[in-house]
Symmetry: C2
Subunit: 297 residues, 2 copies
């Protein structure tokens, strides 16, 4: 399987889904529609909607109930990047080589575009109630989305990350684990769990998928730390060594590079093994999980 | 009826409801729980949850399905104030005499506390699905909440307001109307509509309530403009003349003070008359609508 090619086909189709749900109307508030679209279409691998859809397929899901949630999870991911880039947070002027939203539209509009995408994510996900699917499943998916994006999920991780970066907290291994688990892991867990829930997976299956996603999220983040030291700048498309330069405490700081690599392997092997313990099988999803963590970019 | 006293009893009970739904746990992300609570308990009349609950009563609603939504609407109102106060927006250091969230907790935490409250509003509202009420009603209430808070509601109004304040747009009467209708009106509409929907009001009744709320929201905002010129500083608890000082274009700028007062009276009379055209009756709600617009503080 040419995983890179398969992935890019799916990324394009996921982006189409997301864009189809964005507001497409005229209005005095038109600039916010522009800023939302600018943020969403600024690139990215669309991993979350892809993981969601593939997990949905894994459990035999059919129909379009998944689409509003694919759009919603990508909107939430995008809003988090927009707010993350704000001057009050990481103060980044560029993302994937393009001016960040607050640079392109002004700082106030950066705050509002993030707010708008978060709100619109829920507005969009609610469309799933129109699909011909048990409302209990849709409501469970809504709850997962809200919880994993919020203070017990992504925002919670972001809070501790910000505090550590502003040196209001010392970084410890426990705190780093908490940040990785929530800031990166929670939305990946949400993606796969929502796919499973909407397809009608059992509670046990959803738990298993949560565990798989958690391990993949963690391995993905540790691999990021490794690539920042050993990566190939040409392949990464960005300079390496930024963590060291920013005196950023990463997994490698605590565990060293060899143990970090072992951990990536252990987590990935366990995740793939858990996934394969299911009766259901999705070849692409299996390949994707390995690709995500053993990637070089 | 001693409306001020009745109102303050209900405000206290509404605040209890909101606080009961806030996260009450320990965690590494504890500071965000503090910031959320700080924002929510910083005072305020709790008009939105009160209007919601009174409209729920008006249509004979019973049980606790209303409570998650009362909490959610106040969380959304609070997040909008927190983000509004940020340096990138209005840059206000004080609100109701207390340091604003970003002053008390830092700017990054101001952004995150707003995000957290918006997300948590939806997380909280989803609790209504546990109540013994038709899921169709709860889903309709969720949709109203999301739409009226978002780009077609409050955020949409905020966007145009910000653009006008940054002088990227000239203020016109149309634009001012749009801002008042969305920035202030939309959440008041949502409050009353959600109360009606959850109590089982008909589509026509919900439309009528939306119209009543829209008029009250508009009258409320125009009264604000009038009080900034003619108000009694002691009663208002803040200096008057701030709109003029900030060269802010208000309803009075376009219509003059006499026509503005007439408009407040016309809108309020119409709203109360519409409300009284219903078979249902809620004396307190009637008094509240008049009090809101004919207030001196």
């Amino acid at each position: 399987m040419d995983i890179k090619n398969e992935l890019s086909v799916r990324a394009e189709s996921a982006q189409d889904v997301v864009c189809r749900f964005l507001p497409d109307v005229e209005g005095l508030q038109g600039i916010i529609f522009d800023a939302m679209e600018y943020g969403v279409t600024a690139g990215g691998k669309r991993l979350r909607p892809i993981l969601m859809n593939e997990t949905f397929q894994l459990f035999g899901g059919t129909g379009d109930v998944i689409e509003p949630f694919m759009a919603a999870i990508e909107m939430i991911h995008t809003y988090s990047l927009i707010h993350d880039d704000l001057p009050a947070m990481d103060n980044d002027a560029l993302r994937r080589g393009k001016p960040t939203v607050h640079v392109a539209y002004g700082e106030a509009m950066g705050v509002l575009a993030g707010d708008a995408l978060l709100n619109y994510a829920f507005e969009t996900a609610l469309n799933a109630y129109d699909a011909d699917v048990d409302v209990v499943r849709v409501t469970e998916a809504m709850r997962i989305l809200a919880r994993k994006a919020g203070v017990f999920g992504m925002i919670g991780g972001q809070v501790v990350d910000v505090e550590a970066e502003k040196k209001q907290l010392d970084m410890t291994e426990d705190r780093l684990h908490f940040i990785y688990e929530l800031k990166t892991g929670a939305l990946i867990e949400a993606s796969m769990m929502i796919g499973a829930v909407l397809a009608g997976a059992s509670e046990e299956q959803v738990s298993l998928v949560e565990s798989v996603a958690g391990k993949i999220g963690m391995a993905f983040q540790i691999q990021d730390d490794i690539l920042d030291i050993e990566g190939d700048e040409a392949k990464l498309g960005k300079p390496i060594g930024s963590d060291k330069k920013n005196e950023k405490c990463t997994y490698v700081t605590f565990a060293g590079i060899e143990k970090s690599k072992e951990e990536v392997k252990r987590l990935t092997d366990e995740a793939v093994e858990e996934l394969n313990s299911l009766d259901n099988h999705n070849e692409f999803l299996n390949e994707l999980l390995k690709y995500l963590v053993y990637r070089d970019n």
